[in-house]
Amino acid sequence: MLKTVEKLIIKWKSILPNSLRSLATTTTIDERELKNFEKHSESWWDQSNEGNALHSMNFLRVPFIRDGLIDTCLVNEKYRDTAVPLTGLKILDVGCGGGYLSEPLARLGGEVVGIDASNNLVTIAREHAGKDKTLNNLTYMVSSIEDFSSKNLEIFDAVVASEVIEHVNDQSRFVNECVKCLKPDGSIFLTTINKTFLSKLFAICVAETMGIVPVGTHEYDKFIEPHILQRMLEDSNCCTRIIHGMFYNYLTNNWSWVSDTSICYATHAVKVSS
């Protein structure tokens, strides 16, 4: 019964104009994407697998988040140059997957909550975090962002959604729901893929052929241009501070910041206190 309703919704969506889509969608979770991620959940924490590029992306995105929080003065001066600069900050990792990003943020002292729609992945994330006894400031939950945000309004200092928005339905609602969880002056960090010819070539064709990501990970239609994302953030009462391009060197498994945003990019926005 539920399935037929969902099918109907999908059908409507394709007929309805963009602006009306959000009304028809009940969730930001895309079932097809969800299944795809669950399929690869086993190998999530294996350092020699497809996750490699996501692992090494931590070399960019963790400092990006840490320094973003330092620059917006959310980080307590006392902890700034210690091993735990994020002490006292509540951080929500939306679409945490196996916990690649949640773990380092928790290790930096943040009080991290990771949510993901996939039960499997959350189980894997919990198991992996359980092996490191120091990670007792990290909680995982199976939840969609809209369910979560309705119960956790303005609780978090930072919301992170890294490589997630290109996998959800109704992206503007997703952004809006994320921002709901943020305290005023809190920060939202997003990393995603641009919608360009180059991103189609590299993030789909090349990445899948080279085995950097499993086949079917990315859908071109869901890629999002920086200015559109910026508009969505503005609509949710956020002011964009930074948009940086990111470049992945497959040969050295290294990520680096570049000015060109035509493939991958990261953005940091601050919720305006109204």
């Binding site: 963790v62 210690t82 930096l108 909550v113 490191d132 006894k133 120091t134 909680t139 956790n152």
Partner: protein, 457 residues
């Protein structure tokens, strides 16, 4: 319900803030174990303990020998090293230098090396004796400074008399590394750093490929008394003779330290000689005029005059080395010389540092400086890893360390090995080429600057 879970997790983490990894249940578990408490090991342990980003980590230093209780005496110890300016910077940062400065060290303003078979020479100095190119410090004094500093570190535990029996390295990603001692004690850690020297147990456990050879040479050390009380003894001298090299490293205005590399047989002979005979042998080796090959002589003279017309730095021996009047009693000792390099410095959760990873001929005085360079690099990389929330055993970080150090160490090591081979022959074409090469290098300031640059990092 969700809020309740959140609140619970938040309050739990509040207690954690500073405890971090130190709150681990097992008291035999450490974040980092440094295997080997020699100059490199104890410096590494101190550097990491003092890194503010790593200050919440528990570090264990395992040293095979008994507790160190050497006190500086008037008499110089016979083992000295030439530290480069970068090593001095490291020592200043971690507080060793003030202890060294309080006792003694000898700055070197110029290094002069010359070939006994052709008298061609090269000298290295920076800005005409203003800056120092190296510092001669006794090995024991470095350990003495390390010992004082390490005593006061709350996150560093030192165990003496700890001979490593075996290392059980992590095979699976999250397995801990276990180090077992001969006395039965066993410790676990996230990251094991092997500073246990040339015959490293850690390297053995890693099973990495190790390229090594023996030079069939030994190094003889001694403390020398100079004939004249020179006003300034600030030049390190090195003479290439057909059987090896002789280096005189300044200690003070009256004394220098000797490092004489020679064949095994010769060294054994030299050790047996009476002090007086030994001094005679040494002076003759320093001053002896070898029969010069005519071709080489002509060629070097010719190149010299060309260089002179070009106004390049001339190849004239401006200063002569001091002559030796006696040696300090029982200061003679010898050790074997070899070359060695591990193909890999790292594995998941393990890294080799210093002589465990690379061993060189002492002719450039670079061995220990390469080790201290490893420390600087590892300190920076591990600090970055921790400040980005990564675990210390992260393979990507360790690989960065390996790449950075091999890029520096391998060329330096090959150059030193090349020099060693180049100067242990009297085959005329080789002598000719090396003499001209030395002369040219001396004349070409940019080349010299590049060498100094490489040697001081």
């Amino acid at each position: 319900m969700l809020n309740a879970v959140l609140r619970k997790s938040f309050s739990k983490s509040a207690c954690r803030r500073f405890a971090s990894s130190t709150s681990l249940s097992s008291e035999n578990h450490y974040d980092i174990i440094v295997a080997g408490g020699g100059m490199v090991g104890s410096t590494l342990a101190c550097t990491l303990s003092k890194n503010p980003i790593l200050s919440n980590r528990k570090i264990l230093l395992l040293e095979a020998s008994k507790e160190f209780n050497w006190k500086p005496t008037e008499k110089y110890s016979n083992r000295v090293v030439a530290l480069n300016p970068n090593t001095r910077k490291l020592f200043e940062k971690i507080g060793f230098w003030k202890h060294i400065e309080n006792v003694r060290y000898s700055p070197v303003c110029k290094i002069q090396a010359w070939d006994a078979l052709s008298e061609s020479m090269i000298s290295f100095d920076s800005n005409n004796h203003v800056d120092e190119v190296a510092y001669i410090v006794e090995n024991s004094l470095i350990l003495y400074a390390a010992n004082i500093e390490n005593q006061s570190l709350h996150n560093l535990n030192i165990i003496n008399d700890a001979k490593i029996k075996s290392c059980n390295l992590a095979i699976h990603e999250d397995e801990e590394i276990q180090v077992e001692l001969e006395n039965g004690a066993s410790y676990t850690c996230e990251l094991l750093l092997g500073c246990d020297g040339v015959n490293s147990k850690v390297r053995e456990a890693m099973g990495v490929q190790y390229v090594g050879w023996n030079y069939k040479q030994m190094g003889l050390v001694a403390t020398l008394n100079l004939s004249e009380d020179t006003e300034e003894n600030r030049i390190a001298w090195q003479r290439y003779i057909p059987t090896g090299t002789i280096a005189l490293l300044p200690l003070n205005t009256k004394q220098s330290s000797l490092v004489w590399c020679n064949t095994n047989e010769n060294i054994k002979q030299l050790l047996k000689l009476s002090p007086e005979q030994f001094v005679d042998e040494l002076n003759s080796a320093l001053w002896k005029q070898y029969e010069k090959n005519d071709i080489v002589n002509q060629a070097t003279k010719c190149l010299g005059s060309i260089l002179k017309t070009l106004d390049a730095p001339a190849n004239i021996m401006q200063q002569l080395p001091p002559s030796i009047c006696s040696i300090e009693e029982s200061s003679r000792a010898a050790f074997p010389l070899g070359f060695g390099h591990a193909a890999n410095y790292i594995r998941k959760g393990v890294a080799l540092v210093g002589d465990a990873a690379h061993r060189v001929h002492p002719l450039g005085g670079q061995g220990v400086n390469l080790g201290f360079g490893d420390i600087c690099s590892l300190d920076e990389i591990l600090g970055n890893a921790a400040y980005s929330g990564r675990k210390l055993n992260n393979l990507l970080d360790l690989r960065k360390y390996e790449t950075a150090r091999q890029r520096h160490n391998v060329p330096t090591m090959l150059a030193l090995d090349g020099l060693q081979k180049l100067y242990t022959t009297d085959f005329t074409p080789v002598v000719l080429l090396r003499s001209l090469g030395l002369q040219l290098t001396h004349a070409l300031t940019p080349v010299k600057r590049a060498i100094i640059e490489q040697a001081s990092h």
